[in-house]
């Protein structure tokens, strides 16, 4: 149902159809722009977070240590996001198996 994997899940097809109406060109446009916006929003969010972790006093240029920190920060943020999703999925599975055996 949802296209594109990784960190960006585009709107489900039904809601996209509602917005674009019957026009496939508009629908496609909305999907693409939504995807782009998700990307932009995450860049904004990660820049803000990583600035706190990686930037001391703003200097005349971004030194290599800070640059490396930003890159690592992005990677670890995505890792964290995936970790949370995976673990949540696991705990949901074990929970539903548990509740199924309880309900009668």
């Amino acid at each position: 149902r949802s296209r594109g994997g990784g960190a960006g899940r585009v709107m489900d097809a039904p809601s996209a159809a509602g917005l674009g109406g019957a026009d496939p060109q508009l629908q496609r446009f909305i999907e693409v722009e939504t995807q782009k916006q998700r990307f932009q929003q995450l860049v904004h969010q990660m820049t803000e977070l990583c600035w706190e972790k990686c930037m001391d006093k703003p200097g005349p240029k971004l030194d290599s240590r800070a640059e490396t920190c930003f890159v690592n920060c992005v990677e670890r943020f995505i890792d964290t996001s995936q970790f949370i999703l995976n673990r949540l999925e696991q705990t949901q599975k074990s929970k539903s198996a548990f509740s199924e055996s309880l309900s009668d």
Partner: protein
């Protein structure tokens, strides 16, 4: 008068062709893109202002002194550098994820 009014109306909706009275989707898409770009610029400015105020302004005085202004100017540039670094890093990660799928 009535016929004049009627003919104006007619020219808007009656004329066949591909356009007629319909809205041009291409134009809408361009306008939406512009609005999105504006919104992104505003978001960037808002966060940049927040961060640079925190970094550069200690106890707020009666005006921004030279040191504070210099700090803000550098901070703006570093924030842009950071934003671009994050954007590149995120893009690389996404491409790597897609390649692994």
């Amino acid at each position: 008068m009535e016929s004049g009014f009627g003919s104006d109306f007619g020219s808007d909706f009656g004329s066949g062709g591909s356009g007629g009275g319909k809205l041009d989707p291409g134009l809408i898409m361009e306008q939406v893109k512009v609005q999105i770009a504006v919104a992104n610029a505003q978001e960037l400015l808002q966060r940049m202002t927040d961060k640079c105020f925190r970094k550069c302004i200690g106890k707020p005085g009666g005006s921004l002194d030279n040191a504070e202004q210099k700090c803000i100017a550098m901070c703006m540039d570093r924030y842009m550098d950071s934003w671009n670094t994050v954007s590149r890093a995120y893009n690389s990660r996404l491409q790597r994820e897609r390649a692994n799928m």
